[in-house]
């Protein structure tokens, strides 16, 4: 069942419209931030309002304009897009609270530009989530790259500019150089770019072109951060922490992964890829990134950089899960978008809170910090449990799905990769928490006195940590949505 409705468009536009009052109200900070909240809440409410329809097994469609023959600018909301939209729009509210605390406390400059670009980025993110065809998705993908560039280069110093340059070079280079031609080749073969329930390639034999196209798409959506095209993500960590947390743990990177998922399920089709033996290719390319990124995360001393490498590994997890092309693998992969998002954003919020409260960026400087900032570090602990995949956190649920998916696809090496990487995740997160709480008084670099970051920086990680646990208890919130989309498959 398909329903025609403007709701997805309004959900996207709510943040685009907010860009204007945000830029115009430079003088009055409170009134400016009010608009961010109004937009974020409206957006979230509109997204939520579509949930029952999607759970009911229906999809929402809206054709905006016709662009080229057979390829209109078109929106379609299904379970996959819904999961992603829910995550992005709910976390925008939380991140906005956090941004205000962080940006004001650290007296950042150009806050209007910051909030305006943030709103624009959310518009593009929802656009990607709700795209009905590859071209529409590509359009919003590019808008997202451009709108987040000012956020990465926010500090305007040399490091930020280099980070910004790297960011654009990698993202624009891959999308124009790889994804665009791959998309054109697909269009020339099939005459359409619409995401189909079983892909659109059935009946077209590509021969040797197929692995090339698969790789062009996997690397073309460079936001997914597959190695060796991952260097922009650690580079982008020069951005203020709210940007790293929402955009470079959730919105931007997940847009890359989401695009790859759409291509695997909607363009090629899981059956088609399995039939043509592409599963090992996808899984091993992603698996290489999973292991390498985890190993690299081990020796990062800068906390945000360690988190960035962890993100790279987790993104590859998702691609690997979906790339298995088995039912459980795909469900687990898409669900992991949500599970990982809440866990990782908690970690970034904590990293930012530590920076705001103490000015410390390096893990070696955080020995004993649990005594000074117990709430922050408790949230950090829960977040890292979720990323590792320990109970009682949502990360476990999606990881189990992916593991079962690997078994379903008869890919034992992938099972091993999942297990090894979970172990590595534990290796690079748990020592931080351990050192923060359990250290001798002589080792401790902090006084035994509670002195947390401002409230606006504490509440968000606590909320997201609670959601992580809630997702363990009620995983069906996510799983049902994903399966509603899989019902069509």
């Amino acid at each position: 069942m398909v329903i025609q409705s403007f709701t997805p468009l309004f959900a996207m536009l709510s943040s685009l419209v907010a860009v204007f009052p945000i830029t115009l109200l430079k003088q009055s900070e409170n009134r400016r931030e009010m608009w961010t909240f109004i937009a974020a809440i409206i957006k979230f409410a509109l997204v939520i309002s579509m949930v029952p329809i999607i759970l009911g097994g229906q999809t929402i469609e809206l054709t905006l304009v016709s662009l080229i023959p057979n390829v209109p600018l078109k929106l379609r909301v299904d379970g996959f897009g819904m999961v992603f939209a829910l995550v992005a729009s709910s976390l925008w509210i939380v991140t906005s609270i956090y941004s205000i605390g962080y940006m004001r406390k650290s007296k950042e400059h150009a806050q209007s530009r910051f909030f305006a670009c943030f709103a624009l980025a959310l518009f593009a993110t929802l656009g990607v989530a709700f795209s009905a065809n590859l071209l529409t998705m590509y359009i919003f993908y590019e808008i997202l790259s451009l709108s987040t560039y000012p956020l990465v280069a926010h500090h305007q110093d040399k490091e930020a500019k280099i980070g910004g340059r790297k960011y654009l070079t990698y993202l624009l280079g891959t999308s124009i150089g790889l994804a665009l031609p791959a998309m054109l080749i697909i269009y020339n073969i099939t005459g359409t770019l619409d995401f189909g329930p079983n892909g659109i390639m059935a009946g077209h034999e590509l021969g040797k072109l197929l692995p090339v196209l698969v790789l062009m798409f996997m690397y073309g959506f460079g936001k997914a951060g597959l190695m060796p095209l991952h260097a922009w993500l650690p580079g982008a960590m020069v951005a203020p922490t709210p940007v790293s947390s929402l955009l470079h743990a959730v919105a931007v990177v997940k847009v890359g992964v989401f695009c790859v998922i759409r291509v695997i399920t909607g363009i090629f089709g899981a059956n088609y890829l399995t039939l043509h033996g592409m599963v090992p290719l996808i899984c091993y390319v992603a698996g290489f990134t999973v292991i390498t990124a985890s190993l690299m995360a081990l020796y990062q001393d800068n906390l945000k950089r360690r988190l960035a490498f962890s993100t790279i590994g987790q993104l590859a997890y998702i691609i690997m899960g979906v790339g298995l092309c088995s039912y459980l693998g795909i469900v687990g992969g898409v669900a992991h978008i949500a599970m990982h998002a809440f866990g990782k954003i908690t970690l970034f919020f904590c990293a930012g809170a530590i920076y705001v409260a103490t000015g410390k960026k390096y893990i070696s400087q955080m020995v004993g910090i649990g005594k000074r900032m117990p709430i922050t570090m408790a949230a950090f602990f829960i977040g890292s449990l979720s990323v590792i995949g320990f109970p009682p956190t949502g990360g476990l649920v999606s990881k189990l799905y992916m593991l079962r998916g690997a078994l379903q696809a008869d890919m034992i090496p992938i099972v091993v990769i999942y297990l090894v990487s979970s172990f590595l995740n534990a290796c690079y997160f748990l020592p931080i928490v351990y050192k923060a709480f359990f250290c001798t008084d002589s080792e401790s670099q902090y006084e035994d006195k509670i002195n947390e970051a401002p409230l606006a920086c504490i509440i968000p990680p606590v909320i997201t940590a609670c959601v992580t646990i809630a997702l363990f208890i009620y995983p069906n919130l996510v799983i049902n949505l994903v399966e509603s989309a899989m019902g069509v498959l």
């Binding site: 080229i68 400059h109 590509y138 359009i139 624009l172 280079g173 665009l180």
Partner: protein, 496 residues
């Protein structure tokens, strides 16, 4: 007599007459020249739009000038292609006319009347080139356009004289080659009417005289459109001109010449003839590939934005020539679409740059520090134009690349596909270099709080056309499907 039926000729006669009116009026009161020009251009715009609508509804128009029957009389042929190009010309001319007010007053205060007269005449020439259906008449119009554009470009002052003279020499050679080609055609066919010649060519397809004519016309037009390796005159001529003139010449001159070469290649010689002449390794698409790469390379090494843009134009000419020589419908669609898209994008960039030059007195990249804070609206318009050149959707530039790359894939011309992608990436580097400076300041020093810059936006008469052009870049992109289905498919469908 029905006025609507006379629209094709009104498009030409109205601005032609008002050019003289502007001369007369400006003798008495210089201040009246600008409003009169804007009025003329608005009327011309309405007339071309009216013609376009009539073509869409009733099909192509063949208009006999002074009611002399072809092939002896001069005929105006307004089909979907020429109507589209005419509208593009009149839009850009109108935008530049509005834009001209302040810059002309500032740059050449004592030659205001001459400028507007030449400007209108040049527009008439361009519109004539588009609408005429007569090969010799086309030569006359090429000369009208060229002569007026030499004069316009030379307004730039000292260095412009030399570079314009250079252009004059090469432009004259180009026009002469064209005339020679038409001479050969006339000897063999006895006709100058394009449609008439087209019916006679198939019977003469083996003739070496016809082949000579084809080559002469082709090369003549290549020189005029600055196609590699005949591009040498363009960068200097356009860089040294005053900003208003470059904003007029850069979007239109090369694009209209590309249009003329489509007209002659596809509608006079016919695609069958044209493609049978170049088979095997000798391929014009390869020349286009080199043009794109050379243009992109030279654009990379420039430090002046205006000069950089002129090299981008050379690369864009490569796009269009390549597209029309791919030999498939989608490639030609790309070329035709790109005529419109590139004209508007180039206009957008040059208008924005003209406004910046007006306020800043410089077009060097290093002087752009803090320009975003100083002229936010203008710089945003510049960004839209830049996004178009890079090919970021939903700007028009994305869709022309879409069609051109599709055409390249279909024709198996992978070098052309790669060249287009490389040029997109180079454009990305070019413009983000400017954007970085414009947003964040020039040097790599730690300047947390950038220098406090006062907002100093260009006057409304410059802002309005710039923003309109930027809006059109996006609007054209979003109406791609309309433009192709209503206009371009009609043309391309009849050829392939």
């Amino acid at each position: 007599m029905n006025i609507a039926a006379q629209l094709p000729v009104i498009v030409l006669v109205l601005p032609l007459l008002s050019a003289f009116a502007v001369t007369l009026v400006s003798l008495f009161n210089k201040k009246l020249a600008w409003p009169l020009t804007v009025l003329t251009m608005t009327a011309t715009f309405l007339a071309t739009t009216g013609t376009l609508c009539s073509v869409i509804h009733n099909g192509a128009i063949r208009y006999r000038v002074a009611n002399w029957a072809p092939p002896f009389g001069i005929e105006l042929v307004i089909d979907h292609l020429s109507a589209l190009v005419a509208v593009v010309i009149s839009i850009v001319a109108l935008l530049v006319a509005i834009f001209a007010k302040e810059t002309i007053q500032k740059d050449i205060p004592n030659r205001v009347g001459q400028f507007y007269t030449l400007f209108i005449l040049c527009t008439v020439g361009l519109l004539g080139e588009t609408l005429t259906g007569d090969a010799f008449n086309l030569y006359v119009l090429i000369e009208i356009t060229s002569l007026t554009s030499y004069a316009l470009l030379a307004f730039g002052g000292s260095r412009a004289y030399f570079s314009t003279f250079n252009y004059l020499i090469l432009g004259t050679i180009g026009a002469c080659l064209y005339l020679l080609g038409v001479g050969y055609l006339y000897i063999k066919t006895g006709s100058l009417n394009m449609i008439d010649i087209a019916t006679l060519i198939p019977a003469l397809s083996g003739s070496s005289a016809i082949f000579t004519a084809f080559i002469l016309i082709l090369v003549g037009l290549w020189i005029k459109m600055a196609f590699f390796p005949f591009h040498g005159w363009l960068p200097n001529a356009y860089t040294h001109a005053t900003s208003t003139v470059s904003a007029f010449a850069a979007p239109l001159m090369t694009k209209v010449t590309v249009y003329m070469s489509i007209r002659l290649m596809y509608f006079v010689f016919g695609p069958d003839y044209a493609f049978s002449q170049f088979t095997g390794p000798v391929n014009i698409v390869w020349l286009a590939v080199i043009a794109i790469l050379v243009g992109s390379y030279y654009a990379l090494v420039q430090t002046d934005i205006k000069r950089m843009l002129t090299y981008i134009i050379i690369a864009e000419v490569g796009y269009m020539v390549g597209g029309m020589w791919l030999g498939n419908a989608i490639g030609l669609t790309g070329t035709i679409y790109h005529i419109a898209a590139d004209a508007i994008m180039t206009a957008c960039l040059f208008l924005a740059l003209g406004s910046i030059a007006y306020k800043l007195g410089s077009t060097k990249i290093s002087d752009m520090a803090g320009i975003f804070k100083k002229m936010p609206v203008t710089f945003c318009a510049f960004l839209v134009g830049a996004a178009g050149m890079i090919g970021i959707p939903p700007t028009a530039g994305f869709f022309s690349k879409w069609f051109l790359i599709s055409g390249g894939i279909q024709a198996g011309q992978w070098a052309f596909v790669v060249a287009l992608l490389v040029s997109s990436l180079v454009n990305a580097i070019l413009f983000f270099r400017i954007i970085e400076v414009g947003f964040f300041g020039a040097d790599d020093e730690d300047e947390h709080d950038a220098v406090v810059v006062q907002r100093n936006e260009a006057p409304l008469s410059m802002l309005l056309p710039t923003v309109t052009a930027a809006a059109l870049v996006i609007l054209l992109g979003l109406s791609t499907s309309k433009v192709t289905s209503l206009l371009i498919e009609n043309i391309v469908g009849s050829l392939f």
